[in-house]
């Protein structure tokens, strides 16, 4: 998309600053931490950064899909934790296989997306409102089957019996297996998921007609509709992508934790929204885009990894995250609008 914005022949310094400023900042951070934080510059550390942002990154790619059609999905955090609880429930309480758990979660994500889309498209509830309601609903719903307890092998159920199932090894492998890549046991499954999904969403949005049409809807829904685009269908699809990706994030979370933890997912929501929004600034796109979102997620991951390695207390991490975010974006947007 971005190559269409700037005429290659006439790129000025400002154009360069806009396009590559954020990437330069990212590289600068990496260099700084490599020097300042012992152990930062290693393949393991790199893989780990990817791993730490895999889940938020995948959620953020879902948000990106809704942002493209000029929507917004506040329910992703809750969908992810619902998938976390659901997969645990299916395996531990219902004693089903990993496959059943995964399929159940994906269906749940798709269904939530469908309902969100239906509310927004058909019932015309504003997107923030519909997905906020869905968020509350899911946060409550996921706790009802176990009466607010987290789900673990051998837990006792509300009726007094003991759950007989357990997280199957295949399921746990989603969180724990590592592929060899030059070094043995280097790349975790979740990183592969992130990379594959990011590339997939990027290709989808940039190079397929479906993505093109979704951008058209985001810019001028009526014009898109009069150009023959089935607007409602695409909007619903965007929310379903978001729901499914959020449930994938939840599955990976469950596989990593190995239990169904009670959590609201608020921080997942905020971090992935941050990643998706930072993506606006990457390569001067000034609009939602998959590549930017992935870079945005990495950016946050690198920042937190570096700060933690330098022993910065947790509250300075939020502060630095906010500060860098504001300053970096300020320059990107100020520059790109001054043209």
């Amino acid at each position: 998309m971005s190559e269409t914005r700037v005429n290659k022949k006439s790129m000025s310094l400002t154009d360069y600053a806009i396009r590559y400023g954020f990437v330069a900042l990212l590289v600068g951070l990496v260099v700084y931490f490599s020097v300042a934080a012992e152990g930062f510059a290693s393949p393991y550390s790199a893989v780990f950064i990817f791993q730490s942002v895999a889940i938020t990154g995948i959620l953020a790619l879902g948000v990106t899909a809704t942002l493209v059609v000029d929507g917004f999905d506040l329910s992703i955090g809750a969908v992810a934790t619902s998938a976390l609880m659901l997969s645990a429930y299916v395996m531990v309480v219902m004693e089903q296989s990993a496959l059943v758990a995964v399929v159940a979660c994906l269906l749940m994500g798709a269904l939530v997306g469908l309902i969100n889309g239906f509310l927004i498209v058909q019932m015309r509830v504003p997107d923030l409102l519909a997905t906020l309601g869905m968020m509350f609903l899911l946060i409550g719903l996921q706790r009802i089957p176990t009466e607010g307890r987290s789900i673990a092998t051998g837990m006792s159920l509300p009726d007094g019996s003991t759950a007989g199932g357990s997280f199957s090894p295949e399921f746990l492998a989603l969180g724990r297996h590592r592929f060899d890549f030059f070094i043995d046991n280097l790349i975790p499954v979740s990183v592969v998921f992130l990379v594959v999904i990011a590339i997939g969403i990027w290709l989808f949005l940039e190079y397929t007609r479906y993505g093109r049409v979704m951008y058209a809807i985001g810019s001028n829904e009526r014009a898109a509709s009069l150009a023959g685009v089935p607007v409602k269908k695409y909007k619903i699809i965007a929310y379903m992508i978001s729901g499914v990706l959020a449930s994938v994030g939840g599955i990976l979370l469950a596989a990593r934790l190995g239990r169904g933890d009670i959590a609201s997912g608020n921080n997942l929501l905020l971090d992935s929204v941050a990643a998706a929004l930072i993506g606006f600034a990457v390569l001067g796109a000034a609009k939602p885009n998959a590549f930017g979102t992935a870079v945005g997620a990495l950016f946050v991951g690198i920042l937190l990894q570096g700060l933690t390695m330098m022993n910065a207390p947790y509250y300075t991490q939020d502060f630095v995250k906010g500060g860098v975010l504001v300053v970096a974006l300020m320059f990107t947007f100020a520059l790109s609008n001054r043209r």
Partner: protein
């Protein structure tokens, strides 16, 4: 049996549980203990849940007063916001006990799970396992009362054993807590690959640290010591080669029962004492494996000191 008034007619007795925290296994288990003991007594229990809104919690005390309850259990909260509200309840002739929050009122007995003891038991085990000098990672988020109390013990231990070298302090309450702490612990371990002991005095922290240790392939080298326990913690400790060596815990359900019993004693005109301490139990990986303990129920069965606290048990008290 011969029940003292007002429990000769327990259906007429109304008590309220006013909660500050409710999300999570500990609080759910505490609630179940409260419910069980209330049922054993036959009293009418109202649960008022402020969902971590301290101001609302104070209002809920007033609400309980308006509902005409006979007794109130305050579960967690802030001293500053609860003190005046509890005073109003006491002035209204209502009996009050407080769990894990100091309401600075001589008429209100404190139910405590003694965070200092929890931390002490875990750290003593760490010393027993690893000697007096080691490189440590410490998980702590200031500003949370029980964690602050556990922190005091950690600070004491560091003074007492100068060989303990705190290489890194980290921790976050971002949810899911275990996942966020796993990320931080991973960073800490790659920056300090020589750490051998992780002190994570809250089981969600410990769970996160364990994930990080496993992912870093350091479970042979690192030992984790923590506080609190749940079924899934037991499973994590029992995993082959688990780095999670020991945790110190009180049974939250028992604490819930004790809270109700102490309140019942006051309603019957007895005095449970200014402070009712539920003693913690040390649970080691070895215990779990040797006694084949797989969940909380088996833990109660096989470690009796965990299942029951012989506190606040007058003769007439029906037990669940």
């Amino acid at each position: 049996a011969d029940m003292p008034a007002p429990f000769d007619n327990p259906g007429e007795v109304k008590i309220a549980l006013v909660r500050y925290l409710s999300t999570g296994d500990f609080f759910q288990a505490y609630l179940s203990g409260v419910e069980r003991q209330s049922e054993a007594l036959g009293v009418d229990l109202r649960v008022l849940d402020s969902r971590q809104d301290a101001a609302l919690q104070a209002d809920m005390v007033d609400q309980a007063i308006a509902l005409g309850v006979d007794g109130i259990i305050v579960q967690h909260g802030l001293t500053e916001s609860m003190q005046a509200a509890v005073q109003r309840a006491v002035d209204a002739g209502i009996k009050v006990v407080a769990f894990d929050v100091n309401v600075e009122n001589p008429a209100v007995p404190q139910i405590e799970q003694s965070d200092r003891d929890l931390a002490r038991l875990a750290l003593e085990q760490a010393i027993a396992d690893n000697g007096e000098s080691w490189k440590a990672g410490y998980v702590y988020v200031p500003g949370i009362a029980p964690l602050d109390r556990r922190n005091e013990t950690w600070v004491e231990f560091k003074e007492r054993y100068p060989g303990i070298d705190e290489k890194a302090q980290f921790g976050t309450l971002d949810n899911p807590i275990a996942n966020s702490n796993a990320n931080q612990a991973r960073s800490v371990l790659s920056a300090n690959p020589d750490i051998t002991v992780m002190f994570a005095p809250y089981d969600e922290f410990a769970k996160g640290v364990k994930i990080a240790v496993d992912e870093a392939g350091m479970s042979e080298q690192v030992s984790i010591y923590s506080a609190d326990v749940s079924t899934s913690d037991i499973a994590a400790m029992r995993e082959p080669n688990s780095a999670w060596k020991a945790t110190a815990a009180t049974n939250p359900a028992v604490v819930g029962e004790v809270s109700v019993r102490a309140l019942a004693m006051m309603l019957a005109g007895e005095n449970p004492g200014a402070s009712v301490v539920v003693p913690p139990t040390l649970i080691t990986q070895k215990d779990l494996l040797e006694k084949d303990i797989k969940n909380m129920e088996e833990l109660s069965e096989k470690l009796p000191q965990f299942a029951h606290a012989p506190v606040a048990v007058p003769e007439w008290m029906p037990l669940p």
